[in-house]
């Protein structure tokens, strides 16, 4: 069934979009990522103009992460307090990130820098997670229990301590604020929601349990993407609500299914799958940069219009 999109001004297959939304929704519910990094190239591929794809997807992510958070709330796997602290850091970071992005743009070659950052960043995060979770799986297979050592380092000497009951943490608010801030900066520069940078950061830097991480990440993604949607709608007029509805119908259902799959899985299995996904995205980006494209030219809208 073909549907004409009023803002994107193209005609698309409705069932294809429902399926795409569902697929990305499952990933979102399982791993606590928005899924923008996967949806953007897919939407480009079916002929949606890039500006519309990026803006509309933010709107769709609001729906799927809200659906996912409700499912996690019922299981009490959302740390609302931690989520709020991360969010405050994230919003400040996003504002800083936009400033940095504009500065880089005035220097030129920002596109190249962003892509390189992205590949290096994803490669490092993905590889570290992969090795860590593989070791964890080996240890459990041998039957040796993983020692749950509480590290008492620098982090525990910082002031402004706060109790994060759901995560089982009693730490200073400074590390989560800084994590939120840096993810916010990166997200604004790279033009992504930052879910799959946030998730590993919460697991490894803040020491939060994997089960709580997914719901908490989705919680803060809702606000970040809602803000992005409004920004795009009011400045670029690029949110296509018809496209968003087609994607989010699949997305909200997928998020529910994804949450159920995620809950049944072991934490290290979840981490290793996320690591593989991050590495796959990294590999795809590296491939695009290194291999000669079949068409050297590309046609786009004039910037600043």
């Amino acid at each position: 069934m073909q549907i004409y999109l009023p803002i994107a001004e193209v005609s698309v297959n409705a069932f294809l979009l429902l399926g795409l939304g569902g697929l990305v929704g499952i990933l979102s519910g399982m791993f606590g990522v928005g899924g923008g990094f996967l949806m953007t190239p897919l939407l480009f591929f079916i002929g949606i103009p890039p500006a519309v794809a990026v803006a509309t997807e933010a709107n769709q992510i609001v729906a799927s992460s809200f659906s996912g958070v409700l499912a996690h709330l019922r299981r009490k796997t959302v740390d609302l307090r931690m989520g709020t602290v991360l969010l405050i850091g994230g919003l400040i970071g996003a504002a800083l990130g936009v400033l940095i992005f504009n500065y880089l743009k005035s220097l030129g070659q920002v596109d190249l820098l962003v892509r390189l950052c992205y590949v290096v960043f994803l490669g490092v995060i993905g590889a570290l997670m992969f090795v860590e979770s593989l070791n964890a799986i080996r240890k459990t297979a041998k039957g040796t229990a993983i020692p749950t050592r509480k590290k008492h380092g620098m982090i525990h000497k910082l002031p402004f301590k706060m109790r994060f009951r759901v995560s089982g943490l009693y730490i200073s608010v400074i590390p989560p604020l800084l994590v939120g801030l840096s993810v916010g900066i990166l997200a604004a520069i790279m033009g992504v929601g930052g879910g799959f940078i946030m998730v590993p950061a919460m697991i490894y830097l803040l020491g939060m349990p994997t089960k709580v991480v997914v719901g908490t990440s989705l919680f803060q993604i809702i606000f970040v993407t809602a803000f992005t949607t409004m920004l795009h709608a009011t400045t670029n007029f690029t949110v296509d609500v018809v496209l968003a509805v087609l994607l989010l119908v699949g997305g909200v259902i997928g998020a529910q299914i994804g949450t159920r799959i995620g809950v049944r899985m072991k934490a290290e299995q979840l981490r290793i799958l996320l690591a593989l996904m991050v590495l796959a995205v990294c590999g795809k980006l590296a491939f695009d940069l290194l291999v000669m494209p079949s068409e050297l030219f590309s046609v786009g809208a004039v910037e600043g219009h």
Binding site: Y4, S65, A71, A233, V242, P293
Partner: protein, 250 residues
């Protein structure tokens, strides 16, 4: 004396000897939610008050979508990776362009005539001009044509105009599903021995209707409320799915 004058008029103004009378299957295209492209039948006749003149008759039909500025970027290898380097802005590239002719285009239209009337897509774009800073601007124009032809937004339909008895002609041109709004300039040229002897211009009005129109206008005129509406739909859908799944589970 009068006979001489009549002869003079005939020799001096041969272009008036033939005229185009045109019909369109539709002079407007309404874009609805289920819009999936449209086929336009263009038909007409050659009106003449004198016997059929000498020379091979050719008919060319063009439809051009509203012009829009586009940027064509080229990738180059820098430090081992492929990045966008140079870009050329083309001020007014038609969003859609179709040329249909009764024979191969170069047979029915001379090179000079083509440039003068900007019939082929190349001459239409070249006339726009590119900045002088880029030396091989024509490569960018060629790339734009290549990419748009692959997407079927630029079409060259040679031998697709049917001419009957040197008088009646007709052709079908398919407008793709990815259509922008605006006035689509439609031109018909009659040629004799590759020279234009008569032409006719009209427009086909393409516009969104119903829900499509309402949403488009809302997004431009009330962007804040449009954004709020989009978010409300997202939140409502998220909640509905969650409620439905918990009902299913119980």
């Amino acid at each position: 004396m009068l006979r001489w004058l009549a002869l003079f008029v005939l020799v001096a103004l041969p272009a008036w000897a033939e005229e185009v009378v045109l019909g369109l299957s539709q002079d407007e295209v309404a874009i609805t939610t289920s819009f999936d492209g449209s086929e336009i039948l263009i038909f007409g006749a050659v009106k003449r008050e004198a016997p059929i003149p000498e020379g091979e008759l050719g008919v060319i039909v063009t439809i051009a979508g509203p012009p829009e500025p586009v940027t064509v970027r080229r990738k180059e290898r820098r430090f081992g990776i492929w990045v966008n380097t140079d870009a050329v802005e083309i001020d007014a590239a038609p969003s859609y362009y179709a040329v249909a002719s009764s024979a191969p285009l170069e047979d029915v239209l001379g090179v000079r005539e083509n440039l003068e009337h900007r019939v082929s897509v190349t001459s239409k774009l070249n006339a726009v001009g590119a900045p002088e800073s880029v030396l091989d601007a024509s490569a960018y124009v060629a790339a734009l044509i290549r990419i748009n032809t692959a997407a079927e937004t630029y079409q060259l339909l040679e031998d697709q105009v049917v001419v009957d008895e040197d008088t009646l002609f007709r052709t079908r041109i398919r407008l793709p599903a990815a259509l922008t709004e605006g006035a689509y300039e439609t031109r018909i040229f009659l040629t004799r021995d590759a020279e234009v002897v008569a032409s006719y211009e009209t427009t086909i009005d393409v516009h969104k209707v119903g829900l499509e129109r309402w949403l488009f206008v809302l997004s431009r005129e009330n962007p804040f409320w449009y954004g709020i509406m989009s978010l409300a739909i997202a939140i409502a859908a998220g909640w509905t799915a969650s409620a439905a799944f918990s009902l299913l589970r119980n």
